[in-house]
């Protein structure tokens, strides 16, 4: 059984790396359909990344060292979360508190990238940073609260254990959903795409990045989106996954497929929602997140009374 678990986790990690840009390609294709365009092939995001990897990175004169250290480190941190996730099969790498490590790596990787961007010395990057940081703090709070609710209910801080100990409870589902909604805001999708905002601040945090460095930043951003959604899917579907895992090998494989397809579907739905939105302003975005905080708090209350 352990071999199956290990294999599925390895396959899941690799699949995650491949799927993240591919799902972006599907989103782009669907967005094009909504917008009455033909759109690029679904491999376009990968082609873009591969092309960027072959290109030279321009480093502005005003940049400090952090500017070119940040993107590879960010990518490494995002990629490091992949083997820690639960792809439907219990993760043998899992340890007590791994969910905190995952959250640290996710938040840390984005913060590092923003710091690297500000190290470019470009005022647009500075504005992108300040916008993104305000939103990030609000989102991290929401994510942390959702995790607290789940931990309260299941009594564990390990992702695998959370899945294995979960039962069909309103508090867990609510926490999972609030995690999914927060991941939409967190992964800077329209209308919350404030840090890049091309017509306003010309790409903001990404303005000075080019070539390889841009490829690293893009890939890590896509992984970031994927990981957050997968985490939300894990927690929302935890009772179903638990049921399937207990059925044996076929059940585990089914639960693996369930997790991956649900993640892809959620990402694609997010992509279509994005096509129907315009960009909001930072003050409206923060108002929205402050309203959103009700969800995880209700979830915590429910969890503490054992529902």
């Amino acid at each position: 059984m352990t071999t199956v678990y290990v294999t599925l986790t390895i396959i899941g990690s690799i699949l995650g790396l491949i799927l993240a840009p591919l799902v972006d390609g599907i989103e782009r294709k669907l967005r094009a359909k909504v917008q009455n365009r033909i759109g690029p092939p679904i491999t376009q995001t990968w082609l873009d990344i591969v092309k960027l990897l072959r290109k030279e990175s321009l480093i502005p004169r005003t940049a400090q060292d952090l500017f070119f250290i940040a993107p590879p480190l960010t990518l490494a941190m995002s990629a490091a979360t992949l083997p820690l996730l639960c792809y439907g099969a219990p993760n043998v790498l899992g340890f007590y508190g791994d969910i905190i490590v995952i959250l640290y790596l996710i938040a840390g990787s984005s913060i590092l990238l923003y710091l690297g961007a500000t190290a470019s010395g470009n005022p647009y990057a500075a504005i992108g940073f300040s916008r993104r940081f305000s939103l990030l703090i609000a989102c991290e709070l929401l994510i942390a609260l959702a995790v607290v609710a789940v931990a309260l209910k299941t009594g564990s801080l390990s992702l695998t254990e959370i899945v294995m100990k979960s039962e069909l409870a309103p508090s867990t589902i609510l926490a999972g959903l609030s995690l999914l909604i927060t991941s939409y805001v967190e992964s800077s999708r329209l209308p919350f795409e404030l840090a890049v905002a091309k017509p306003e601040i010309m790409g903001g945090i990404l303005i000075e990045y080019s070539g390889r460095l841009l490829a690293f930043a893009e890939l890590s951003h896509l992984l970031h989106r994927f990981v957050l959604v997968l985490l939300g899917v894990d927690i929302t579907l935890a009772p179903a996954l638990k049921y399937l895992i207990e059925l044996g090998v076929t059940g585990v494989i089914a639960s693996f497929i369930l997790v991956i397809t649900s993640t892809v579907i959620v990402l694609v739905i997010f992509g279509v929602i994005e096509a129907l939105c315009g960009r909001t302003r930072l003050d409206y975005a923060l108002q929205f997140t402050s309203k959103l905080i009700v969800l995880p708090i209700i979830s915590i209350v429910l969890a503490s009374i054992g529902v």
Binding site: Q35, N36, Y124, P191, A197
Partner: protein, 559 residues
């Protein structure tokens, strides 16, 4: 009050100031002594409530030994009012009317650059049009300046960017953020420097005219009456037809040409088609700036039908080239009318759907209350078009100075009082529907007859032509010269009057709203600059050039 009453009132009130009164092409031309200029300008602007249009210099040394300045006002519902003053070439100093009519600021500075006329009492007598490295004392529109002369250029030693500090007037700011000359929100080169504190815009500096083409000079030196409409149409790639129409109208008024009814209707139809396409383009761009790409794509999808219609009626999707003094060059035939009506119905139904999808609470919340321009400031700066009508001023040249077929057609002008980005957006949305109505009416009532009238050239006649462009009124002033050439041709595009209002509109807005606020005047920089930039592929450098040089270049490259 009629035109004659106005003239007699002015004559009695300023009997000692007035040198000459004339009525060229049904407009009023009053020449006053320089010392009375401000007083008369103040009277017509404040008491007679005339709307300021533009000013122009003229080098009349070859005729009278003087430089002249023409200030053009619109005496709404009556005629155009041209205030002229002349000063001797030895001492070209004219009192500035900017203190009384703030909107004259730019036009006076342009006359200063182009003719070397000094304006006494001007609040900021700095360069507007000429680049910083242009030599002192060279004035391109003077008659002794050869149209193909290029002064040597050098890189100006001017620092624009600074982080933190105190701006002129004691305004403290934290970052000076460059918006342009190349910026995704501006589709043409123009430079705004936003002084921001956090996310709030404190003040804005502007430098434009990076790519001046010198079209007026070409029109005055190289071309004849009949050639100018084609270069006039190339002033702008979006609203070119308004320029050629407005030029033709000025020539027709100056020479007293009676344009056939059918030509008037054809011009009206094409003008309104141009307005529909331009507004749809703007709505798309506004959606893009708000990050709403789907709205952008669909707005431009509808616009595509309009472009096809333009191609059907004129032969070109853009830059129609059918205007000529005295009429048009291309007729509309019967089966085209049927097709055009069908397209109009299609556009109308699709645009109504788009309108409902666009004006949703999320979009409205981004536009409402942002970029406020009060009515009083709007009049002082003399802003035009949807920018003016969004601030509650119910003016429209189509109604106030009726031309072509507009007096016979039934349409409304859209006015909103709020003065914010939303008001300006709603004006444009309403105007699209009104334009569809106008095109349908004009197609139904298209009179039969010739499409062009012949005429004889006459020298030294003044004419003012104005057409309501999608962005506001375009004013062309023409003084005819000898041998079918122009003595003076002044082009004033609406964006020229609208940009100064941005200083008021941008103050205090969030940085996120700055691009949409700039776009809310629908800036058309090529109209304002009347310019072009060419990329030299061999050397990889950008060069500034005139259209004639460009043509030579194309001939050289293409053999």
């Amino acid at each position: 009050m009629s035109k004659e009453e106005l003239i007699s009132k002015l004559k009695s009130k300023f009997s000692e100031c007035i040198v000459k009164v004339d009525t060229p092409g049904n407009d009023i031309l009053v020449e006053v002594k320089p010392e009375c200029l401000v007083e008369v300008a103040k009277y017509v602007f404040n008491e007679e409530n005339m709307y300021y249009a533009t000013s122009s210099g003229a080098d009349e040394r070859g005729l009278t030994g003087k430089f002249s300045v023409y200030h053009i006002f619109s005496a709404d519902k009556r005629c155009w009012f041209v205030l002229k003053t002349s000063v001797p070439a030895s001492r070209p100093k004219v009192p500035s009317i900017t203190g009384v009519v703030p909107g004259a600021n730019w036009a006076e500075r342009e006359a200063m650059d182009m003719f070397g006329i000094q304006f006494e009492g001007h609040p900021e007598p700095t360069r507007l049009v000429l680049p910083d490295d242009w030599p002192e004392g060279l004035h391109p529109l003077r008659k002794d300046f050869e149209h193909n002369y290029r002064p040597p250029s050098k890189t100006p030693e001017k620092e624009y960017l600074s982080v933190g500090g105190v701006f002129v007037g004691g305004v403290e700011y934290s970052t000076a953020l460059p918006l342009g000359p190349y910026h995704p929100a501006l589709h043409e080169p123009e430079y705004f420097e936003l002084l921001v504190k956090g996310e709030e815009v404190i003040d804005v500096r502007y430098r434009g005219f990076h790519v001046h083409r010198g079209i007026e000079k070409i029109g005055e030196s190289r071309l004849t009456y009949n050639q100018v409409p084609f270069i006039a149409e190339r002033i702008c790639g979006i609203c070119g037809f308004v320029h050629s129409s407005s030029y033709c109208m000025a020539i027709e008024k100056a020479l007293g040409i009676d344009v056939p009814e059918r030509a008037k209707y054809i011009r009206t139809i094409v003008l309104e088609i141009e307005r529909i396409h331009s507004h749809l383009l703007w709505i798309g761009v506004a959606c893009h700036l708000l990050g709403f790409e789907t709205g952008f794509m669909h707005s431009w999808r509808i616009r595509e039908h309009v472009m096809d219609l333009a191609e059907l009626l004129t032969g070109s999707r853009k830059t129609y080239g059918i205007n000529i003094p005295g009429g048009v060059r291309r007729d509309i035939i019967e089966n085209q009318i049927e097709k055009a009506k069908k397209v109009m119905d299609l556009i109308e139904s699709e645009f109504k759907i788009l309108k409902d999808k666009l004006l949703v609470p999320e979009v409205i919340s981004r536009l409402k209350g942002v970029g406020y321009l009060p009515k009083e400031d709007a009049r002082k700066i003399a802003v035009l078009g949807p920018t003016m009508r969004g601030s509650g001023i119910a003016r429209d040249v189509r109604k106030d100075q009726p031309y072509f077929a507009y007096p016979e057609l039934d349409f409304e002008i859209a006015v909103y009082d709020d003065g914010d980005n939303l008001a300006r957006t709603l004006v444009r949305v309403d105007e699209v529907l009104e334009s569809i109505k106008i095109v349908k009416q004009a197609l139904n009532n298209l009179p039969k007859g010739p499409i062009r009238a012949d005429f004889e050239p006459k020298p030294m006649k003044l004419g003012v032509g104005a057409v309501e462009a999608p962005r506001g009124e375009v004013v062309h002033m023409v003084i005819t010269g000898r041998s079918s050439k122009l003595f003076r041709w002044r082009v004033r595009a609406p964006t020229y009057n609208n940009i100064p209002a941005l200083k008021i509109m941008l103050k205090g807005v969030a940085l996120a709203d700055a691009p949409i606020t700039i776009a809310s005047i629908d800036p058309c920089f090529s109209c304002t600059d009347r310019c072009i930039v060419l990329r030299d592929l061999d050397r990889g450098t950008y060069i500034r050039t005139s259209l004639i040089e460009m043509r030579r270049y194309v001939v050289r490259v293409l053999g």
